[in-house]
């Protein structure tokens, strides 16, 4: 039997994680859509290089958050509760969605190369951006739904 306190801490951490993931996924997507990165297009200036590095850092952080459940700072007992059966199922569902978004984006960009001129960036950049954002946002949505009415 778990301690009641541990269950409450896990519950709070899980809610916070869901909100953080939602905010991070939205911010990541909005930065791409609003500011349009031109990574892979034109000369490799310092500005483009900075954007490229920041984008890679963003992607790695989001993927780490998704794959570890963002619970690296919790102790093992709380981490096990936060990443229990429901969250593991949500993680699988999110990754599956991310995979299909990646396939769809890649096929779209291959079939209609002119789309790149409109949305900016290169094919890999867009494929990764949309698929990671989709997976993170889906995970956040499923986690928030799991907490609804709790």
């Amino acid at each position: 039997m778990q301690s009641r306190n541990v269950v409450e801490i896990a519950d709070r951490n899980s809610r916070v994680r869901a909100y953080v993931m939602a905010a991070a996924g939205l911010a990541f997507l909005l930065i791409h859509v609003v500011f349009r990165s031109y990574v892979g297009m034109g000369p490799e200036t310092a500005d483009v290089l900075t954007r490229r590095v920041m984008w890679v850092v963003n992607v790695v952080v989001l993927l780490l958050g998704l794959s570890t459940g963002g619970g690296l700072l919790n102790n093992r007992e709380i981490r096990a509760l936060v990443n229990d059966e429901v969250s593991q199922g949500n993680y699988r569902t999110s990754v599956i969605l991310g995979f299909w978004v990646a396939m769809g984006t890649a096929l779209l960009l291959y079939a209609f190369p002119n789309v790149l001129a409109y949305i900016g960036g290169d094919a890999i950049y867009n494929t990764v951006t949309f698929s990671v954002a989709a997976a993170v946002l889906k995970f956040a949505y499923l986690e928030l739904r799991a907490h609804r009415d709790a």
């Binding site: 039997m1 778990q2 301690s3 009641r4 269950v7 409450e8 896990a10 519950d11 899980s14 509760l81 936060v82 229990d84 059966e85 429901v86 969250s87 199922g89 986690e143 739904r145 799991a146 907490h147 609804r148 009415d149 709790a150």
Partner: protein
């Protein structure tokens, strides 16, 4: 994973024993989120979790989870 044809009486069984979701979560060793999603039919628990829920409530799995009559 959800299954619209799986009925569950977890909420009723828990309420009958005057337990909160947090109480049951503590007894079973899962998060409150898990109890909530099972009660709402959003999540189908594993066999192990279903057995643990039944044991914690002092009942059988069949008392908590049922398939409707028409489903084979």
């Amino acid at each position: 994973m959800t299954h619209k044809e799986l009925h569950n009486r977890l909420r009723e069984e828990r309420a009958r024993r005057n337990l909160t979701q947090a109480d049951l979560a503590t007894m079973v060793g899962v998060s409150r989120k898990t109890i909530n999603t099972v009660e709402n039919g959003v999540f189908i628990p594993s066999t192990v979790l279903a057995l643990r829920l039944a044991r914690a409530l002092g009942t059988s799995v069949e008392e908590i989870f049922q398939l409707p009559g028409k489903v084979p």
